[in-house]
Amino acid sequence: MNATIRIQTEPFDAARETDLMTAGRADVGAVVAFTGLCRDEGGKLSSLELEHYPGMAEAELTRIAARAEERWPLLGLTVIHRFGMISPGEGIVLVLAASAHREAAFEAASFLMDYLKTRAPFWKREHLKDGTVGAWVEAKVQDDAAAERWA
């Protein structure tokens, strides 16, 4: 199984990616699609700026995907992460995990997101509607805890 890993500025289409993964096959029993979206933080956010480390972002997502494939019997795995300026309501990240049964698909998608949050080299900064550029978003302690539950 080859995981699809993409880092891009353009929006992604979850339906199209799911079709690419499942079209013409009947061995997949479960697909979990996780979409992470840009929130407007109660109306104060104009956009989210996402910086990334080109080269390492792809490499790290590929390593995380390989760990998921070792751990669960997956039939498909797609990870797409955007960078650049993202507007409220738009998707930031898409994870698709396909398997014969639901447990593997749910767990693999959840694992991917937990690991991605703490290990994939992306950084967020808020641009506010009043024209100011907010601080870099701080990492959450609970994200580290979420990643550690898979250890």
Partner: protein, 83 residues
């Protein structure tokens, strides 16, 4: 050796990357950080809390005690906030 910086580490140092000649006696990532902090207030500021800044060697996460011999590119950046 090429050094690259991201997010507020990049902003505090004031450049996205640089090529540096590292003097003898710098064996680990932690040694490199201590040496960088002697190069100016911008580095002191970026690494004021050494435990917070993360490092990668050639696109792989490393701990502060990791040796830097043979590295082509060393990156410093804040804890990640993607996803």
């Amino acid at each position: 050796m090429k050094l690259v910086y991201f997010a507020w580490v990049r902003e505090r140092i004031g450049r996205p990357d640089e090529d540096v000649d590292i003097p003898g006696g710098i064996a680990t990532v932690a040694d490199l950080v201590r040496w960088l902090k002697t190069r100016g207030v911008e580095y002191e500021y970026a690494f004021e809390n050494e435990q917070v800044v993360r490092a990668a060697i050639d696109h792989v996460h490393v701990k502060p005690d990791h040796v830097i011999a043979g590295a082509r590119e060393i990156a410093f950046f804040p804890p990640m906030t993607g996803g």
